[in-house]
Structures are given as structure tokens and as C-alpha cells.
Symmetry: C2
Subunit: 141 residues, 2 copies
């Protein structure tokens, strides 16, 4: 399966006249092989650790290319650093951020999605995209 998505990316980029260089592949790998939501700098550091040559500029540019082509998703938690996540099979979801640990939990709720559409419609709009983040704390036993 991993091979598949890599070739899909390669193809999509090539169709746009773009190349899937080792730097771009490295950025993608960081995102694909991690369940965490890293920021650009973390991704940069991780690639460096693997002795692949990159610059921050390239990381940012690559994240942009991947996001524009919908292979990754940006996550703005509101603390100044944008996190990224690979879009693999699992599709749309929102995030719950634990205020104690910083852990990011993904969730999806059909009713919630429908309710949003309903609310927007009531105001004469349709929802194009949304961000929904719950800042939470564990329920103590």
C-alpha cells in the first residue's frame, strides 16, 4: 500500500511538471510514518537526523506542494506552529487537543457534520471546509 500512494504522488506531481525528489520523498515519509502531528521544524530535524540533505526552505515548499495536491492536511492549533498530517485512507476528521499532555486525538462524527451543514444553510451558506477543535482535559476517575 505504501508503494501505491508514493506512485500516486509521483504521478500527480509529474502531471503538473513537478518532480518527486528525495527531499520531497523524505518529507512525505516523515508524515506517513508518524501518527503524531509534527510541525515544519520537527520534520526538518527528523530528516536531518536521517542524514538526508534538506533545508527548512525545502521543507516548507514541499509541505506546500503536498498540501496543494491534497496529500497532506494543515492543522492550525492556534499556538503559532502549524502541524501537518498525511491523508492516508482514513479521511476527514477533527481534533481534540489534550491541554494536559498536548496529545492530539482524531475524531469524526457524522451527526456533527450534518449539523454544521444545517446551521450554515440556515444562514444562507454552504460549508466548504471547517476547523473544529476541542481543547480537553481527561475526566479523572
Amino acid at each position: 500500500m505504501k508503494v501505491d500512494i508514493i506512485s500516486r504522488i509521483k504521478k500527480v506531481l509529474q502531471d503538473e511538471g513537478l518532480r518527486f525528489t528525495k527531499q520531497r520523498k523524505a518529507v512525505w515519509n516523515e508524515l506517513e510514518n508518524s501518527n503524531d502531528h509534527h510541525d515544519a521544524d520537527k520534520i526538518y530535524e527528523n530528516i536531518k537526523l536521517k542524514k538526508v540533505s534538506v533545508s527548512r526552505a525545502t521543507v516548507y515548499r514541499t509541505l506546500d506542494v503536498l498540501a496543494k495536491n491534497k496529500f497532506i492536511r494543515k492543522l492550525d492549533v492556534g499556538d503559532g506552529r502549524i502541524r501537518y498530517e498525511a491523508k492516508t485512507s482514513k479521511d476527514h476528521h477533527d481534533h481534540m487537543i489534550c491541554l494536559d499532555t498536548g496529545k492530539i486525538i482524531e475524531f469524526f462524527d457524522e451527526d456533527l457534520e450534518n449539523l454544521q451543514d444545517k446551521i450554515a444553510k440556515k444562514h444562507g451558506y454552504k460549508v466548504i471546509r471547517h476547523t473544529h477543535q476541542l481543547f480537553v482535559k481527561p475526566i479523572k476517575k
Copy 2:
């Protein structure tokens, strides 16, 4: 009513050993008298226009003081600039941002709030706060 909230602010700040200076009052006025959601720079510019002396530093510091004391709310739309809104009588609400015009519409939905709590609970968490933004487009007739 306006007098009331101003004295409340004054009191709360004084209880903390802080002062409600003309700069701070000016910042508050900008927020209170506007239904729009301005960013720090806009607020700074508007105060300047009224020939009150301020600096950006003071605006930022004041916004911080007011936010910490819950008189205003920060709004992170994800475009790099943080917007602010006064908390007047109308309490919690979320935002709908029109992608065509940039207009920010406030909304509140009880069911939505409950649903969020339910979802968090299912994961063993309780919601402390949340951000929920719908990026929308008008339904064309």
C-alpha cells in the same frame, strides 16, 4: 449599559493593581463599538485616527490584559492575524467565515454544544474550550 461594563473593567483591573489608562480605554472602545472582528493592527490604526497616542506594543499588551480578564475573546481564523471581539452580553458563539467576502458571522447552536461534550466524553475527556469555524460560501439562488 456602556458605563457599567467600563466600570467593571476598571474595577477588575484595579483589583489586580492594574490601571485603566486612556490607551486601554481606547482599545476597549474600538472593540466595543464595532461588530466587526478587527486585528491588532486595525485597532492600532483606528485609535491613531482618533488622535489618541498609542503604540502597537501597547495595543498588544492591552489586548492581552483584556483577554486574560475575559473581557474580550481572541479569534484565530488561521490566516496569521488574530482577530478580537468584545464579550458583551451575548455569550459564547462560534464563527462562520465567508470565503467570498471575508465576512464573519456568529452563530450558536445548543445541539452542537451538547454533541461536542458527548464526543469528548466518549474518549474520556471533558471539553474545556473549543474553536469551531465554518468556512462557507453563499448559496446562490
